[in-house]
Amino acid sequence: MSPELGKSDAIVESSVDTVEVSPGEVVTQHLVEVRMSTRRRIGIGVAIIVIGLIVALALAASAGSHSTRFDLNGANPGVSVPKFSLPGVTVIVICGVLIVLLGIAQLARGFGKRTMRWVGIGVAVLFLLGFLTWAGTEGKQPIQVGSLLQQTLFLATPLILGAMAGVMCEKTGVINVAIEGQMLFGAFAGALFGTIASNWVGLLAAVVIGALVGALLAVFAIKFMVNQVILGVVINAFALGLTGYLFDAIMANNGGGTNQPSVFNPIKIPVLGDIPVVGSLLFDQTIITYLMYVIVIVIDVMLVRSRWGLRTRAVGEHPKAADTVGINVLRLRYQNVIIGGGIAGLAGAALTIGSVGQFNKNMTSGQGFIALAALIFGRWTPRGALGAALFFGFASALQTALSLLATPVNIDSNLLQMLPYLATIFAVAGLVGRVRAPAADGEPYVKG
C-alpha cells in the first residue's frame, strides 16, 4: 500500500495475512485494518474524556462527606465477608482521572478495533465504581454489591433463556421475533398449571406450550414461508391477546384458585454454595436458574463440537449446501425452532413460578425483545448472548438498587427506569459494530 494514499487517514496499519491453504502453498491476503475515520476517533476520545470529567468533577463535587461502605454479601450468605469502606471523594477522583487518561490516549493515537472493546469495558467499570462510590457518600446505607449481583442474575435469567431460544432458531436460519410471545405463554401456563397441579407440572406445561408456539412459528415460517419478522410480531400480538383474555376469564375473579402457584425455592448446592460471595450468588438458586446454566453450557458446547451443531450451522449459513450432502434442512429447522420455543417457554416460567408466583397481563413487558437484543449484541453466540443478557440484567438491578438508596443528589425514578433501555440502545449501537448474522437467517429454503 503506497504511503501517500489519497484521503490518507483511512488506514491504520496494513498487514499481510497469510493462510496456508495447503502444505507449501500459501495464499497471502492483503488486508488493511480500516481505522475509524479521524472524526470518529476524535469523537469517541472526546466522549470518553467528558465522561471522565463528569466523574472527576461533577460527582466529586456533589459527593457527600462520608466514606462509602460496600457490602459484598447478598441475601442468605453462607459464609459472610466483612464490609469495607472506601474514602469517597478520593476514589471518585481517581476513577475520573483514569477515564480521562484513557480518553486522551484514544484522542492521541486511537485504539484498534479489538482493543477498543476492552477500553469500552474499562471505562464502564471505572465509571460504575466511581458512580457507586458517589451514591454511598451520604453514609446512611452501605452499597449492597452482593445483593445487586444476586438481583442481576435473577433478572437476567429469563433474558438469558430467551436469548438461548433465539440462538436455537437463528443459528438454523429462522428469525424468532416471537420470543416475547412464547415467554408470555410460558409464564401463563406456568402460573395456571403451577396452581392447579404443582410447580413441576407448571414448569413442564410452560416448556410444552412454548414448544407449541415454536411449532406454530416453524410451520408458518418454514412451510408457508411467511415473512418471519411480521410473523413474530403477529404471534406476539396473539399471545398478548389470548393470555389477557384467559387471565380475565379464569384468573382475575377466581381468587387464588388459578393464579397462585407455589414457587420454586432456592436449592443450595453443598460445598459450592458455601463459597463466600460466589456461593450464595451462583449456587443457591432455583431449579430454573440451574436449568439455565445447563442449557447455556450444552448449547455452547454442542454448537461447536457435535454433529447436530455442525449441521445446524451449515443449515443456517448455506442450506442448499447442507441439502446437497443429504441433510434434511427442513426437519432440522423444525426441530431447532420447536426446542427454541420450549426454552422460551421456560424463560416465561422463570417470571411466574420462578419468581413472584403470579401471572399478570403482559408481564413480560418487552423482556423477549431485550432477549432478542442480547442475542444480536452477543453476535449470535451463546456466550455473547449470555454476557449481553447479564449486562441488561445488571442495568435493571442497578436501577432498583439506586431507587432505594439515598444518593447525594436525588435522581428521579422515571429517569432511573429508563436506565436498562438506555443501556440497551448504547450497547447495541455503540459497542457491537458490524455483526454478521447467520447468512441464511430469515431465508425460507426452497429446494432446487
Binding site: 495447503s22 443429504g326 434434511n328
Partner: protein, 506 residues
C-alpha cells in the same frame, strides 16, 4: 460402476428442460456433456444427483434401477457431484465441510475432528488435491475450494463424479492441474461426467462426448472432432467462432484512471493502485480470474462504489466524486456483469427496461410524467434493431432468455451517443448464437469511436475482442499484453505471476 440414464424427462410447468435423454457412462471413462448454457445439462445432472425428481425415465446403476429421494440416496449409490456454484459452507473449516452430512463421530454425536483431518490429508495426498484441513473455506481461493468439493465427493466413496462446469472459475494452469486430477481418478476406476461448453477442454480430456441441445441429445462425437463440428452440433447451425474486426484506430484518451484504490468496509483491498488509460476507438480488456477486483474497478468507474483514493477522468474531466446518474449522462454506457441483479428489473416490461436511465428526459418523459407512446415506439425500434426475440415489448424482462436479456441491456446502453462503454462479462449465460451478435455490436461501437472497457473472465473472448489487454490479479493490473500473446503467457499472469517471476522461475 456403470451408470445408465434411460429416457430421462424433466418438465418445469410447460417447459421441458430434458426430453427423453439416454446416456451411458462406462466405468473408468471420462464422458463429456457438451451443450450451451440453458441446454439442460445442469438439470440432467441435478436429476441424477437426486435434487430434482424426473418427470419420466430411469436411473440405472450397475443394472439396478434406482430411486433417489434426495442427494443422500445418490451419494449412497456412489454418485458425487461438484456443483458449478460450490456447495461449501464458508464459515466452516475444510475438514468440517468434507464431513458435513456424513460426519465422523465419537460417542454421543460429538465430532471426531481428528479423523476428519486425517481423511482430508490422506485423500489430498492420494489425488494431489493439496489443501490444509483446518482453514476456513471462506479464506480459500476458488481454485482450492474446488479441491475441497472434489475431496468431499471422494470422502463419500464416489464411483461416478459429476463435474459441472468445473473450469469456469479456474486459471488455465489450474485447469491443467484439474485435468491431471481427472486422469488420476480415471486411472483409479472412477467414472467422470464432465459438463462444459468449452470445446478446447472437452476435446482435450474426454473419452466420449454427448452433445445436448434444447433438452435433447443431438449426437455423440469423438474427441477428435474439430471445434467447428462440435460448435455446429451444439448450436444447430454453423457458427463463426472468430470475431471479425479491423485494426483499431485509437484517438484521444477517453478514460483515465490514476492510482485507484478500493477498500471494502471489512478492510480488504479490492482494487490496488490501478492506473490505466482507454482511448477513443479502442477496446481495452481486463482479463483475469473471477473475483480479482474487476467488478469493483468497473463499479468505481461508473460511480457505484466510492474509491478510497485515486482519480478517474472522462474525456479530460474528473469524475471521481460524481454521481452515477451524472456519469451516465456524460456519455458512459454500463453493462453490468449480473444483468438480472444490476442490469434489468425483471418484473418490468422490456419497454420500461429500455428507458431505465432516460425515463426522465425528453422524449420519454419529464419531471412529472412519462410519454408512453414514445417509450413504446422506442421499444419497438430497439427490439427490431437488436433482434430481441420476444412476443411483445410489453413482456416482463424476466421471461426472456439470457441472451435476449443481454440484448435488451445492450440496446439501452448503446442507443445514445457514448464516449465510453463499460461492459462486464458481455456473454456470460448468453447462447453461442447471440454471442456472435453481442461481439459484433461491441466492435461496431468501437468503430464508431467509443472507448470500450471490457471485463471478461473468458480468455477466448478477451483475445478475440481486445486491442489491448490488462491482466488483473489480487486487485492489481499486474501486466499488459497484446491480444496476440499466447494462452500460456496470459495464464501465468492470471495466476499472479508477473513476467519477472516467470523468468526467475525458468
Amino acid at each position: 460402476m456403470k451408470l445408465e440414464l434411460r429416457g430421462i424427462t424433466k418438465q418445469f410447468g410447460s417447459f421441458t428442460a430434458n426430453d427423453h435423454i439416454d446416456l451411458v457412462v462406462e466405468p473408468g471413462q471420462i464422458h463429456a456433456l457438451l451443450g450451451e448454457n440453458g441446454a439442460g445439462k445442469s438439470t440432467l445432472m441435478n436429476v441424477l444427483y437426486g435434487l430434482y425428481e424426473p418427470t419420466a425415465g430411469e436411473i440405472i446403476v450397475d443394472g439396478e434401477p434406482q430411486k433417489f429421494d434426495g442427494p443422500g440416496d445418490a451419494m449412497r449409490a456412489g454418485i458425487g457431484m461438484v456443483h458449478q456454484h460450490f456447495m461449501l459452507v464458508p464459515v466452516l473449516t475444510v475438514a468440517e465441510n468434507v464431513m458435513l452430512g456424513d460426519e465422523y463421530t465419537k460417542s454421543a454425536g460429538m465430532l471426531d475432528q481428528r479423523k476428519a483431518r486425517e481423511v482430508v490429508r490422506r485423500l489430498s495426498k492420494d489425488y494431489h488435491l493439496e489443501v490444509n484441513p483446518d482453514v476456513l473455506v471462506e479464506d480459500l481461493p476458488v481454485g482450492i475450494q474446488q479441491r475441497v468439493e472434489i475431496l468431499k465427493a471422494l470422502a463419500r466413496h464416489a464411483k461416478v463424479l459429476i463435474l459441472d462446469e468445473p473450469t469456469a472459475v479456474l486459471t488455465p494452469q489450474e485447469t491443467d492441474h484439474l485435468m491431471d486430477v481427472m486422469r488420476s481418478l480415471k486411472a483409479d476406476g472412477t467414472s467422470i461426467v464432465f459438463i462444459s461448453h468449452k470445446l478446447r477442454e472437452v476435446r482435450a480430456i474426454a473419452d466420449t462426448i454427448t452433445v445436448i441441445r434444447r433438452g435433447k441429445v443431438v449426437g455423440q462425437a469423438d474427441p477428435s472432432a474439430t471445434p467447428a463440428e462440435l460448435a455446429a452440433l451444439m448450436v444447430g447451425r454453423p457458427v463463426q467462432l472468430q470475431v471479425d474486426k479491423a485494426p483499431a484506430d485509437p484517438g484521444d484518451v477517453m478514460l483515465g484512471i490514476e492510482g485507484l484504490h478500493v477498500i471494502s468496509p471489512t478492510g480488504q483491498v479490492l482494487v490496488d493502485d490501478v492506473s490505466l488509460q482507454v482511448r477513443a476507438g479502442e477496446i481495452y480488456a481486463v482479463a483475469g480470474v473471477q473475483g480479482n477486483g474487476q467488478s469493483e474497478l468497473t463499479e468505481a468507474v461508473v460511480g457505484l462504489v466510492e474509491p478510497t483514493s485515486g482519480t478517474i477522468s472522462l474525456d479530460g474531466r474528473d469524475i471521481t466524486d460524481t454521481s452515477t446518474d451524472e456519469i451516465l449522462g456524460r456519455g458512459v454506457g454500463y453493462v453490468p456483469e449480473d444483468r438480472m441483479h444490476d442490469g434489468l428489473i425483471g418484473s418490468f416490461s422490456i419497454a420500461e427496461n429500455l428507458v431505465l436511465d432516460t425515463y426522465d428526459e425528453a422524449p420519454f418523459g419529464n419531471a412529472v410524467s412519462l410519454n408512453l407512446q414514445e417509450i413504446t415506439k422506442n421499444a419497438t425500434e430497439r427490439v427490431e434493431e437488436f433482434d430481441v426475440r420476444t412476443q411483445s415489448a410489453e413482456a416482463a424482462a424476466s421471461t426472456l432468455s439470457g441472451g435476449n436479456q443481454q440484448k435488451v441491456v445492450l440496446a439501452r446502453e448503446m442507443s445514445r451517443p457514448l464516449k465510453l462503454l463499460v461492459i462486464s462479462q458481455p456473454t456470460r449465460g448468453v447462447d453461442v448464437g447471440s454471442q456472435e451478435f453481442v461481439h459484433k455490436r461491441i466492435v461496431a461501437e468501437r468503430d464508431r469511436g467509443t472507448a470500450v472497457l471490457l471485463v471478461s473472465t473468458e480468455l477466448d473472448e478477451v483475445i478475440g475482442l481486445a486491442d489491448r489487454v490488462g491482466v488483473m490479479y489480487a486487485g492489481k493490473i499486474i501486466g499488459e499484453l497484446p491480444p496476440t500473446a499466447s494462452a500460456e503467457e496470459f495464464g501465468l499472469l492470471m495466476a499472479g505471476q508477473t513476467a519477472t517471476d516467470a523468468k526467475e522461475a525458468s
